[in-house]
């Protein structure tokens, strides 16, 4: 076990390299720039390529190109850059290209408060690109998790052949904490399944088809237009479209439970529940401790997977808790997901805070718990 003292963005880079990332393209943006800087420093040493492109659109374009050239590839950005990448994220989804997009959330909308923390990109990570789309997005709440979930993001991208979003935030990305790194052989690394000689169906027939690299003689045709299992464009046939788009959505939707990674605490024995994620979720531990000392039974679901939304544990929490508090550094986004999943089983209470990058404090959550317990 190796122990390091890292910044969140630094941990992300170290993890990416361990996961096998050998290509990075990015564009400077606060609070994600340290990822590009550390990639530029570290990747060449292991024979990888890090390049600063002319904008975020070019960055993710190069990442998709590198992925088809056989590399595990990644880009990192923040809100405004994430906006620009949305079209290409849809293209990566449609072409089933494994890649990792790190969005270190800052405070929007627009330029907003560029150096301050926010959690306003949650729905953008889910619905940012046009058309029927299913996202995988992970939400770290510590530097340790920046490390672990970056590796997981690569593994899921390779396993499901799809873009994966690491939805970090300014606080988690900029804080420094201890990171424990298990020995290399204990770290699970997933690599994309390659086709056998003579195989031709790289875009269908199986839930996750094998993926060739260009230059291997497979003559793969990649297109964001609707295509059949052999990559040939069909821009008017309803059946080809339905078959393709249902499959690429289902390969994520039907594995939602398997993808759901959450930290659950007393979800089967509580009067007040909490659903939290990212930097905000760091405040719940202390708040729960205080509440328990006052005799209030509290349970929580902390979302490490944010998309697809982990319905099962939240539903279980809603069965027991009378009220569920959803603290977020936005004006309410995951709140609506919790409401959707809970239905009439529990009352959902929002705890929102925006501006100045000030995180939601344990005291604020504790006050909310007390308020809810009284009712």
């Amino acid at each position: 076990m190796e122990i390091n003292f890292w910044q969140g963005n630094e941990a992300c880079v170290e993890a990416a390299i361990i996961a096998g990332c050998r290509f990075f393209a990015g564009y400077p943006i606060t609070p994600a720039s340290e990822i590009a800087e550390n990639m530029a420093k570290k990747l060449p040493k292991v024979g990888g390529i890090a390049i600063q492109m002319e904008d975020e659109i070019a960055s993710i374009g190069a990442v998709v190109g590198a992925s088809w050239a056989g590399a595990k590839a990644m880009t990192a950005t923040s809100g405004p850059g994430f906006d620009l990448m949305q079209e290409t994220i849809g293209w990566a989804f449609m072409t089933e290209t494994p890649c990792v997009i790190v969005d270190v959330q800052r405070l929007g909308p627009s330029t907003g408060q560029a150096t301050k923390c926010g959690q306003g990109d949650v729905m953008q990570a889910r619905w940012g690109t046009h058309g029927d789309y299913s996202a995988i997005a992970l939400s770290p709440n510590s530097v340790q998790e920046m490390f672990e979930l970056t590796i997981e993001a690569f593994n899921l991208a390779e396993k499901y052949r799809t873009p994966v979003i690491l939805l970090a935030d300014e606080i988690v990305a900029h804080m420094r904490e201890q990171v424990k790194i298990p020995p290399q052989e204990k770290i699970k690394i997933v690599n994309r399944r390659k086709p056998k000689l003579g195989e031709k169906a790289f875009f269908g027939l199986e839930e996750v088809p094998p993926m060739p690299s260009i230059g291997e003689g497979f003559h793969v045709t990649v297109t964001g237009s609707t295509h059949n299992e052999y990559g040939i464009r069909f821009t008017a046939d309803p059946h080809v479209h339905k078959r393709l788009v249902e499959r690429i959505n289902n390969k994520i939707k039907q594995h939602a439970e398997e993808l759901a990674d959450t930290e659950n605490y007393k979800i089967d024995d509580c009067e007040v529940g909490i659903v939290a994620f990212g930097c905000t979720s760091r405040a719940i531990y202390e708040a729960v401790e205080h509440a328990e000392a006052k005799g209030i039974r509290v349970g929580y679901v902390r979302l490490k997977t944010i998309w697809p939304f982990p319905e099962k544990p939240v539903k279980e929490l809603a069965q027991k808790a009378e009220t569920i508090i959803v603290p977020e550094m936005n004006l309410g986004q995951i709140f609506y997901e919790v409401q959707r999943v809970a239905g009439c089983s529990a009352k959902i209470v929002a705890l929102n805070k925006i501006g100045g990058g000030e995180p939601i404090t344990p005291e604020e959550i504790f006050e909310k718990i007390k308020e809810c317990a009284k009712k």
Binding site: M53, A73, T223, S225
Partner: protein
């Protein structure tokens, strides 16, 4: 090389999508003829990238090769990612004027500036053909299009000169009426390192020609022939004399360190330093 040329050995047996009289046929066949004359029996050493627009369909999915059909304007960044990881492959980008110097202009300039090793073949039909004939950044002043019904009030871009200024290693412009020269330039470009740009002025009888008074593709080719001026001659003419002319020829051919050379040298140095630490 000794074998007779046939486009069939490089193409998938699919019906081509282009309108009758489209210049994309010429560009496609001249490219394949160039490849044949260079002695490539197949396209295994190539990867093709294209964007959105009629000419982006030249390689995808018709070429029996690896091809990536990207988003509108984004073929060059995707090609950049590919070439960086696979410097051994010939990366060729096909695109239209709207794709390459409209929505994708910044990538075009930056790829030339970086001297990114790739060949970009831009089929310039002076119009957005696929969407029905809207004004393009290459449409001649005063030309009537569906979005400039009273005539275009914008100056067109000289993409070839821009590529030279930005740093390309090989730049040529021909028209589809100069197919032999076009083919020879493609052959030359495929043997030059760095960023290479070939602009093929091409006819779109459907979405451009008929709206500006040409009866058919043949008339447009005649227009190209009659108004083309070779660059060496054009340099002797003033702006007024060049009005309405199409300057053709080789705009530059030079050697500069390429991005691939530079980046791989940097990696070797970094690895050495890493080993020493």
């Amino acid at each position: 090389m000794s074998k007779q040329f046939s486009v069939k050995k490089y193409l998938r047996p699919l019906p081509l999508p282009f309108c009758a009289g489209c210049g994309a046929f010429t560009v496609m066949s001249e490219f394949l003829r160039a490849v044949h004359e260079l002695g490539y029996e197949n396209l295994d050493k190539f990867v093709f990238c294209s964007g959105i627009g009629c000419s982006s369909w030249i390689p995808s999915p018709y070429f029996e090769a690896d091809s990536i059909h990207t988003l509108h304007g984004r073929s060059i960044p995707v090609a950049t990612g590919i070439k960086l990881m696979r410097p051994d492959l010939n990366v060729v980008v096909f695109g239209g004027d709207g794709d390459i110097v409209g929505i994708g202009l910044s990538h075009f300039i930056h790829a030339a500036r970086r001297n990114m090793d790739m060949l970009v073949i831009m089929v310039n039909n002076m119009i957005y053909g696929m969407t029905g004939g809207q004004v393009a950044p290459t449409t001649p002043l005063k030309a009537k299009t569906t979005t400039t019904p009273y005539g275009s009030f914008e100056n067109p871009l000289d993409s070839a000169r821009l590529a030279v200024t930005a740093g390309a290693c090989y730049v040529a412009r021909w028209t589809t009426a100069h197919s032999t020269q076009l083919k020879e330039s493609i052959k030359k470009a495929l043997n030059v390192k760095g960023f290479k740009f070939i602009e093929a002025i091409s006819q779109c009888p459907t979405a451009y020609g008929r709206r500006v008074g040409f009866k058919d593709a043949a008339q447009m080719l005649k227009w190209f022939k009659e108004n083309a001026v070779i660059i060496e001659e054009a340099e002797k003419l003033n702006e007024e004399e060049l009005n309405g002319k199409i300057v053709i020829g080789e705009f530059t051919q030079r050697k500069r360190p390429t991005l691939i050379e530079n980046i791989y040298k940097t990696i070797e140095e970094a690895k050495k330093e890493h080993g020493e630490n």
